[in-house]
């Protein structure tokens, strides 16, 4: 596997972010409709149908592909909302749709057999058998791997199944198997699978207590910050909790995934798509990260080592990790 066919797959939460990503050198951008059909259903985010049409035109003119994420699980009784999203993505000539639900995969494969189908990370396909099922049943062409596999496991997967592999290389790190986490709905009643949100803003409060600020989600204290300490968004699994008599970041530190140094290894393992997380981030973030990874991939193509680029000031908590790609993370 060479670096030639590696694609940089970049997030675009808004039309301005799409332009920033395309201009910074993305090979693909991934977007969602402004409704509950995608797993980044944040207030004021995502694309109306006309905005997506404009975005696709802008991207295609510059040789960039557009993938539409329709990766929540359709609600019983209202499948038409998700079916319409798939139909619209096909009509607008999106280059692929990214889907998680078995029933929706079946609909897309049957109704739009020529529409390229990517398997979302939300399907939690963590083994060759799982990916092979989706390939045989629905002809998926690419699978986004859950962020729980080590690099050797990814290499084994890529060798075993006739499907392109896409992995996350930068951004917010999920610690639970994606698409199989109900922590958010336990605290707030809203979940990634059902509503396309995790730790939703509607249930966030910041409360000042003396010099400290306490962040709460659904009434549960998630973290506290002293004067001058950077404050974080109270994503549930990034909080500090007490267990076994100790206070700690039990599930994960507030840190971002950054695999810049591991890109050559991932390419050797057979990965085709390098996915940057962050549809809910602003266009300044998107522009900076895409530019950095573009430089890195181009350097690798020239046979050089990826440059050491400082992304500290836009990562969560200013800290970074290589996450589950290293076995010691478990």
């Amino acid at each position: 596997m060479t670096a030639e066919n590696v694609e940089l797959v970049c997030p675009a939460g808004t039309p301005a972010a799409l332009k920033a990503a395309v201009d910074a050198g993305a090979d693909c951008v991934y977007v969602g409709f402004r409704d509950e059909t995608n797993a980044r259903n944040f207030p004021g985010l995502n694309f109306s149908r006309p905005e997506l049409a404009d975005g696709i035109a802008y991207a295609h003119e510059r040789g960039t592909k557009v993938l539409v994420a329709i990766n929540t699980f359709p609600r019983a009784g209202k499948p038409e909302i998700w079916h319409q999203a798939v139909d619209d993505a096909a009509r607008l000539k999106a280059d692929a749709v990214i889907v998680a639900d078995v029933g929706l995969c079946a609909y897309a494969a049957k109704t739009h057999p020529d529409l390229r189908l990517h398997l979302s990370v939300q399907a939690s396909a963590s083994s060759p058998e799982a990916i092979r099922f989706y390939h045989q049943a629905f002809n998926i062409q690419r699978a986004v791997l859950p962020r729980v596999l080590t690099v050797p496991e990814i290499a084994a997967l890529a060798a075993d199944v006739p499907v392109e592999m896409e992995v996350f290389v930068f951004g917010g790190l999920g610690v639970m198997a994606e698409g199989r986490c109900a922590l958010s709905s336990y605290a707030t009643g809203l979940s990634p699978n059902m509503n396309g949100v995790c730790s939703p803003a509607s249930h966030v409060r910041y409360v000042e207590r003396g010099e400290k600020v306490v962040s709460e989600l659904g009434g549960f204290t998630i973290n506290t910050f002293g004067a001058g300490e950077p404050a974080g968004y109270p994503t549930l699994c990034k909080g500090r909790f007490e267990a076994n008599g100790k206070l700690s970041y039990l599930f994960e530190e507030p840190t971002s995934l950054n695999t810049l140094a591991m890109l050559p290894e991932l390419i050797k393992a057979g990965v085709t798509g390098f996915k940057i997380e962050g549809r809910q981030r602003g266009r300044a973030y998107v522009g900076a990260v895409v530019k950095a990874f573009r430089q890195a991939v181009d350097a690798i193509r020239r046979g050089e080592a990826p440059p050491d680029i400082d992304l500290d000031n836009i990562t969560e908590g200013g800290r970074q990790t290589a996450g589950a790609y290293e076995r010691s993370w478990r």
Binding site: G44, S202, R205, G210, A231, G282, A284
Partner: protein
């Protein structure tokens, strides 16, 4: 769904010691209503050139967002009602029932609106403070970020023939501003450093009390379970 509360921001954010602060001090005697026409013009620019912003806020028709440029002696209140949006100037929030607040230095608010800095980074570093209904603030931030605003272009589009000299002035002014800011920051740090040390003792005592309280609660609960 969190109920919006008609609350006041609890504590002012320390404004950076910058040229804007000085300008703000100079502006202090000016009654806010004299500035209203400026903000009416800004809102009409937004409606004309960036209609997507209000469209994205259409899910929050009854929200009232308080914007506080902490280095200026007035505040703004945005009501993004789709049919009748308003952006009004006030001296402070005392007569306003806002459901959400954004507070930060003016330069930062400008930079955010242009996407020149990352909103999350600004928030994480606590230079930007949001309170109240986090959801509508997030919607506002996403709506503005998504619109791809360039303030100079907006001014140009509104001001026509004055645009070129004004844009030149804005860029010269901007460079001058940055130079002044650097020097002022040094002066500020030496002035304020001494004052900050006094508050540290008090806040560490509060931390101690809170830790003690949490531990007492835990002991009580364990005793209840054993009983």
């Amino acid at each position: 769904m969190q109920n919006p509360r008609a609350a006041q921001p609890s504590r002012p954010v320390d404004p950076p010691f910058s040229p804007v602060l000085l300008a703000g001090i100079a502006l202090a005697p000016v009654p806010p209503r004299l500035l209203q026409p400026l903000f009416d013009a800004i809102l009409s620019v937004v409606r004309r050139r960036h209609p997507g912003i209000l469209e994205r806020l259409a899910d929050y028709p009854d929200s009232v967002v308080g914007i506080d440029p902490v280095d200026l002696p007035f505040v703004l209140v945005l009501e993004p009602h789709p049919q009748m949006p308003t952006l009004t100037v006030h001296r402070d929030f005392s007569d306003v029932a806002a459901t959400a607040f954004i507070r930060g230095p003016l330069e930062m608010l400008f930079a955010l609106s242009e996407g020149r800095i990352d909103g999350d980074a600004a928030f994480f570093s606590r230079q930007l403070v949001i309170e109240g209904d986090t959801e509508v603030v997030l919607a506002l931030r996403n709506a503005i970020d998504g619109a791809g605003i360039n303030l100079e272009d907006d001014f140009a589009a509104t001001l026509g023939p004055l645009a070129r000299p004004l844009r030149h002035f804005a860029s010269v002014g901007g460079r001058l501003f940055n130079l002044l800011s650097r020097d002022m920051d040094m002066v500020r740090r030496s002035l304020i450093g001494t004052a900050l040390r006094g508050t540290d003792a008090q806040s560490s005592r509060i931390s101690e009390l809170e830790t003690e309280l949490a531990s007492i609660r835990r002991t009580l609960r364990n005793r209840e379970h054993r009983a």
